[in-house]
């Protein structure tokens, strides 16, 4: 809709469409404010320049009325912008039910992408158009930031935790992916492409990737290999919380707090079980910090999610 504005960037997702309106409104407002200030300044400088014969009588001494008036006007205007922006922001960061989930690992200096079906890509992300895609993102080293200008979405990818982002592309094409958090030497070249395809094209692409195991299946292998099934498996005699149906539910912890069992929670439990012991269970789970990289973590989490769970996680 705004393609007539010179140099206006492409908009290829519903996220971007919503942001555009606010964006343009603010640009227009900025222009208006600048024009007003410049006009006033130029007018006064010309009219009241030294040597001009305009009358300087009756200087305004009681300035309060003006100041209160423009304080209130400014505050009112700012509050409108704030509310508008905040509403969109909350919507941008509360993922709706997703049609697809993709797992992203950022590392110096590339984006590793893993689809739920096990398809892997580097510096590229193929997605179907008009479908809600939810990204679960981890960093293997430093803080990166996943940015798609054409979708107007961005989120930092932080080591030690998992972040989520969602979008729904509304046109096909190839769109730039950037890293916008300085992450070291080759930060400037840590780019990629988001390839938005029609449904059938995407389905064809998925099957052509030559994948044997889905992400969840790979996670199941890890689950057994690292001994998790010894306590959490169906035939275990150890008193450990059951994982089936866990994802998305509320969990009561030993210290009295309640947490939502989202991806970040699952990650925390695996890496620092002592601080997240579930109420009523002995604190005996070994911690796996240092034994699993971010990619492995995401596979395990995908597996646990596949064991059934509640609603999609909400931030």
């Amino acid at each position: 809709m705004y393609h007539w504005i010179p140099f206006w960037p492409d908009t290829a997702a519903v996220n971007g469409v919503v942001v555009n309106n606010l964006y343009i409104a603010e640009l227009a407002l900025s222009g208006l404010i600048m024009v007003t200030v410049v006009a006033m300044m130029v007018t006064f400088c010309v009219r009241y320049r030294d040597g001009a014969s305009t009358s300087r009588a009756n200087l305004v001494r009681e300035t309060w009325h003006f100041e209160i008036a423009w304080t209130i006007a400014t505050l009112g205007l700012f509050l409108v912008l704030f509310v508008w922006g905040a509403q969109i922001y909350v919507w941008l960061y509360q993922p709706p039910p997703a049609d697809e989930e993709v797992y992203i690992v950022g590392k110096q200096w590339m984006w590793k992408v893993e689809h739920a079906g096990g398809q892997r890509e580097i510096d590229a992300l193929h997605v179907p158009v008009d479908k809600t895609i939810r990204l679960v993102m981890a960093s293997e080293d430093v803080i990166h930031s996943f940015f798609v200008p054409a979708f107007r979405i961005k989120h930092d990818v932080v080591p030690g935790t998992l972040e989520t982002l969602w979008f729904k592309a509304n046109k096909t094409g190839t769109f730039r992916l950037e890293c916008t958090q300085y992450c070291g030497l080759q930060h400037a070249t840590m780019q990629g492409e988001i390839v938005v395809m029609t449904g059938p094209d995407y389905a064809r692409w998925l099957t052509s990737q030559g994948v044997e195991e889905s992400l969840a299946q790979q996670g199941a292998d890890l689950f057994r290999a690292h001994g998790c099934s010894g306590c959490h498996g169906e035939n275990s005699t150890v008193h450990a919380p059951s994982l089936s149906g866990l994802y998305g539910t509320q969990v009561h912890l030993q210290d009295g707090s309640v947490r939502l069992a989202d991806e970040a929670y699952l990650r925390d439990c695996i890496l620092n079980p002592r601080s997240f012991t579930v109420a009523g269970y002995p604190p005996i789970m070994p911690d796996f910090s240092g034994q699993l990289d971010e990619g492995d973590m995401l596979k395990l989490i995908a597996y646990i999610k596949s064991l059934g769970g509640g609603q999609e996680s909400r931030r």
């Binding site: 210290d255 620092n272 002592r274 601080s275 604190p283 911690d287 910090s289």
Partner: protein, 217 residues
């Protein structure tokens, strides 16, 4: 040592009283800033303590309680001797009582450092020095070391501040008082040092429970 010449305020001050008040105000402003400095560290400590209460409790078992408590007593007493010294400055024409209390303060301050030094030696033995001599204790997990990083940074910074305080008191004794510049007519410099000393004491008041009373209730 009586003052032969009358003490004059510095050129930018109208009276000695203005100079003294301004000096004290300056020290209070400085200490506000110091409070924020230590406050930032203590804030970080509390953030991690509430996130990892078990790990911190496990790690803090190796904190040497008797050293910390003894030092607490030493420092609080030194604040008392400092106040007594200032009292003497305000009342006595002759500096003898003031000097005695100030020497006591220096001795107590140095005693704190000796006890702290011995405690550091014990810490080495207990292997709670991150990177240099560190062993993960049971129940501490990977987050327990954060307690010890806090311990070394906080007590190290505190010791530096205490050493500066001792230096200031020595400066008072060996320089200002010896030249007769502190008397009931003008003893603001000593008050300024006293305020600083009390601050160093207060920091220990906060560090003590953070370090030594974790998980001991």
């Amino acid at each position: 040592m009586p003052a032969d010449t009358e003490l004059m305020p510095e050129m930018q001050y109208a009276t000695l009283a203005q100079q003294g008040e301004t000096a004290q105000f300056g020290m209070w402003v400085f200490l506000t800033q110091e409070t924020i400095f230590f406050g930032a560290l203590i804030f970080t400590y509390f953030l991690y303590r509430t996130t990892y209460p078990h790990e911190f409790a496990a790690a803090a078992k190796d904190a040497v309680l008797w050293c910390g408590t003894l030092n607490f007593v030493i420092l609080v007493t030194s604040s008392l001797t400092m106040v007594l010294a200032i009292n003497a400055a305000a009342q006595d024409v002759r500096p003898n009582r003031m000097v005695r209390w100030l020497i006591m303060t220096v001795v107590l301050g140095c005693l704190f450092l000796v006890v702290k030094g011995y405690e550091y030696y014990l810490d080495f033995q207990d292997k709670v020095v991150p990177v240099v001599a560190f062993e993960v204790k049971p129940g501490e997990g990977s987050a327990g070391v954060l307690f010890w990083v806090f311990y070394w940074v906080a007590t190290g910074l505190h010791a530096i501040h205490l050493t500066i305080g001792i230096g200031l008191v020595l400066y008072m004794l060996l320089w200002r008082i010896r030249r007769g510049e502190i008397s009931p007519a003008y003893y603001a410099p000593l008050e300024v040092v006293g305020i600083y000393w009390s601050f160093v004491d207060t920091v220990w008041l906060f560090l003590y429970p953070c370090i030594y009373l974790v998980g001991r209730s």
